[in-house]
């Protein structure tokens, strides 16, 4: 992202595929209410192996949350209220309308990329789109 600063915007759509990731996504969005979405997001990936096999990972995630100085009581209450489920459902509906069936799926402007890509491939696609966008605007 840094190399395309000013030219590219990344928009993240957490796309829930199972109950564990639903809890994790809710927790991430709740962490966002405390201004720590990206910290929590990074932590979820970094410590994925420690929580994604648990039937209910909330307790484990709350423990991790202390490490990034989150108010865990507020976080727990937010997740348990289920108020983030509406956003999650909306994203799922939006993803379905774009025929997203698996993750990761990226859209570089209108170009769909399904599955994990190497950085080189992704950079090439972004460059192509940048060139196209510049050509269109000039």
């Amino acid at each position: 992202m840094k190399r395309f600063e000013g030219d590219v915007q990344l928009v993240l759509y957490p796309f829930v595929l199972n109950s564990r990731s639903e809890v994790a996504t809710q927790a991430a969005l709740c962490a966002g209410e405390q201004g720590k979405f990206w910290d929590f997001h990074r932590m979820l990936y970094r410590r994925q192996a420690q929580w994604n096999h648990l039937a209910n990972p909330l307790d484990q995630l709350l423990e991790f949350a202390t490490g990034i100085e989150l108010d865990t009581a507020a976080l727990k209450s937010c997740v348990q209220s289920g108020r983030m489920l509406k956003i999650i459902k909306a994203d799922q509906d939006y993803g379905s309308s774009l025929q997203v069936h698996s993750t990761p799926t990226l859209f570089v402007n209108n170009q769909r990329i399904v599955g994990a890509q190497s950085e080189v491939e992704l950079v090439r696609t972004i460059r192509q789109e940048l060139t196209r966008a510049r050509r269109t605007s000039s």
């Binding site: 000013g6 570089v108 966008a133």
Partner: protein, 90 residues
């Protein structure tokens, strides 16, 4: 004393040789057919794979691109290139 049927033996041997050669040829033909069939199946599988990939990667209509409200973003707002990432934590 009976004479040895040398000529006959020679004939049978040649027949056998011919039969063996024919069998070899037939076996080679069968092998070639199998290889051809395998090749065709391989081409078909690769073709289907490429087709599926192309369908998945095809461009989508602009009308389906939604707003970025209520979503976490990085980079410049209103940038020339918008990358929408759908990813799962689990």
């Amino acid at each position: 004393m009976a004479k040895k049927p040398k000529t006959r033996e020679g004939t049978v041997s040649r027949r056998q040789q011919r039969r063996e050669a024919e069998q070899k040829q037939a076996s080679w033909r069968r092998q070639r057919q199998r290889m051809l069939l395998g090749g065709l199946v391989l081409v078909l599988v690769v073709g289907v794979g490429i087709a599926v990939r192309t369908i998945q990667q095809r461009n989508i209509p602009v009308r389906l691109q939604g707003a970025v409200d209520n979503h976490y973003t990085k980079g410049a707002a209103g940038a020339a290139v918008v990358v929408k990432e759908f990813s799962d934590y689990g």
